[in-house]
């Protein structure tokens, strides 16, 4: 005689210690196995696009900071690149070098949060403290440059708001020297830990065809084995002057495209960013960082779509200008928005505890999804 079973709906509500923000997941379960996951978003919808239509072009920059609050420098960088292409202005080379340094330091800081909280979700609390300790060093570097720890308003259209602090280069070199052994310590503690590997290898595999059809980008796409990085494939700023590699997932501990691959791509990316910062610090040219900032920004009529490589993927800005001081439309294509769509495909057939592991490996930020 067969047992009568019934499906159950479980709610991982907006307040949850492991959902990286205000996300509601509705899980349809058959016992412990997941049949379907329906994500509900919009709990942090802050009307960014409506504000952009009411502000002038430079006033939009503090709002772009607050979208992806873990990688604020990169949001500003993307907006500045888009506006400079629309206005057709050239920035001095010193500005480009400093933007690249800040962007790569921000990438390291963002990956540290991602990896630290991923370890804390799985159950390992110590890497969280180690990652935040290193992140405080980077935030100190940002603070002496522009005065803020998290939301900077530093990269302006046509230049920067302040030049580098006199101590910046010395402190950065010290940080690079101290960070490499810390990376090795993180690897020994978490990445090659047998318990971590058991929980993340072969779990939540993302096939390459599905990833490209959905539009996934960034470390999630590279974890499935596809070498695609906007810094090399659609270059912007001075990234083509540096020598760095693009790490991809190889299926070392399980299948290609599982959670461990996506996690380890981020660890390797931190090493590559460190190389870029080292090269840029040694070859910074002199110049004035505020000379190319226009007094009034009134672009010609037209539209443009530009994209940059956020720590989470491809961040796109679609700006339509109607010739006045305020933008007519600013649309932000957030990488986490696209990744959240593919999430329900990744979770089918796994257990409830694996949902937490998969959610941590795709590294979403709710501020970016809801804008």
């Amino acid at each position: 005689m067969a047992l009568k079973t019934e499906e159950m709906v479980l709610n991982m509500g907006p307040q949850h210690p492991s959902t990286h923000g205000v996300l509601r997941l509705e899980l349809q379960l058959d016992g412990e196995i997941i049949i379907d996951v329906v994500p509900h978003i919009g709990y942090l919808h802050r009307c960014f696009e409506k504000h952009c239509e009411a502000m002038t072009y430079p006033q939009v920059i503090p709002y772009t900071d607050r979208m992806d609050y873990l990688a604020s420098m990169y949001n500003e960088f993307g907006y500045a690149v888009a506006m400079e292409r629309l206005l057709k202005i050239e920035v001095p080379e010193r500005v480009e070098y400093i933007r690249v340094i800040m962007g790569e330091l921000q990438r390291i800081a963002s990956h540290l949060v991602a990896l630290g909280t991923y370890g804390a979700d799985i159950g390992a609390f110590t890497p969280f403290l180690f990652c935040f300790r290193d992140r405080e060093r980077i935030l100190h570097l940002f603070e002496i440059t522009c005065g803020a720890r998290l939301l900077y308003n530093y990269i302006w259209i046509g230049g920067l708001s302040h030049d580098l602090h006199p101590d910046f280069i010395r402190l950065t070199k010290e940080f690079i020297k101290d960070f490499r052994p810390n990376l090795k310590e993180l690897n020994d503690l978490l990445s090659f830990n047998q318990i971590f590997i058991e929980r993340t290898a072969n779990v939540g595999v993302l096939p390459l065809e599905t990833a490209i059809n959905y539009g996934v980008s960034g470390p999630n796409l590279r974890g499935s084995g596809f070498k695609w990085d906007l810094r090399k494939d659609d270059p912007y700023s001075v990234y083509n002057k540096f020598d760095y590699d693009i790490p991809i997932g190889t299926g070392e501990k399980g299948k290609v495209g599982d959670c461990w691959d996506r996690y380890f791509v981020r660890v390797k990316e931190m090493e590559e960013s460190l190389k870029i910062v080292e090269q840029a610090i040694d070859t910074i040219p002199d110049g004035d960082v505020t000379s190319a900032i226009p007094k009034r920004i009134k672009p010609p009529e037209g539209q443009i779509y530009t994209r940059v490589e956020n720590p989470r993927g491809e961040l796109g800005y679609f700006i339509i200008s109607d010739g006045s001081l305020n933008p007519a439309r600013v649309k932000v294509r957030a990488p986490s928005f696209v990744t959240m769509q593919v999430f329900s495909e990744l979770c089918k057939g796994w257990m409830v505890a694996d949902v937490v592991a998969i959610l941590g490996s795709v590294d979403i930020v709710l501020g970016e999804i809801d804008r």
Binding site: I41, G42, H45, C47, E49, K50, E53, R85, L86, T210, I212, N213, Y214, G215, V216, F226, W228, D233, P300, E301, G302, Q303, I304, Y305, R307, E314, G316, F318, I320, A328, R329, K331, R333, F337, V338, M340, Q341, V342, D370, R371
Partner: protein
């Protein structure tokens, strides 16, 4: 790698009347204006054709053109009658490294565009957001409902230029 003119000519000889024109007069990005009810056939051709291979939809956004006539009623509130809402598609090919921009326009009173969800599954949530913010109805969409606003928000479509805030929502005061 193909330019926008070459792709436009190729599309024109296959689809004829559905492809309306190629606009390059504004500076920067050229875009191709297409018929709003034929978008799915055009996009299927763009995705599967051997030397076009647009396998990735980068972005899909709704835009309020605000080109109707503005009427001020007695309370000073400005509404827009007539005019169009548009949807922009940004496509990309990861193999052949070229990009393309498409645009469709639809009327403001009853906006309807065909969905492209069967072609690129990533378009699902983008279209839901365009519906939520502008009210553009995508025909044959598997699950068209609000995504960012609350499911019972009945005060209109927020990103339209003539949107007005309600006074109270479920007991909470909306303006400052």
């Amino acid at each position: 790698m193909k330019t926008a003119e070459e792709i436009f000519n190729k599309l024109k000889e296959k689809f004829g009347s559905s492809i309306i024109e190629l606009k390059t007069d504004k500076p920067l990005e050229p875009f191709i204006l297409v018929n709003r009810l034929e978008v799915d056939k055009i996009c299927l051709f763009l995705r599967d054709e051997r030397d076009l291979l647009f396998d990735s939809l980068m972005n899909l956004s709704g835009v309020d053109d605000a080109n109707g006539e503005k009427i001020k009623d007695e309370t000073g509130l400005e509404t827009i009658n007539g005019g169009t809402l548009s949807v922009y598609y940004h496509l990309e090919s990861t193999n052949l490294r070229h990009k393309l921009t498409l645009k469709t326009s639809t009327e403001r009173e009853k906006p309807e565009v065909v969905t492209v969800t069967e072609i690129w599954k990533g378009a699902n949530w983008h279209e839901r957001e365009a519906y939520d913010m502008y009210g553009v109805v995508f025909l044959n969409h598997p699950d068209l409902r609000r995504i960012l606003m609350p499911y019972d928000w009945e005060f209109g479509y927020p990103l339209r230029k003539d949107y007005k805030n309600p006074e109270f929502y479920q007991g909470m005061k909306v303006p400052y």
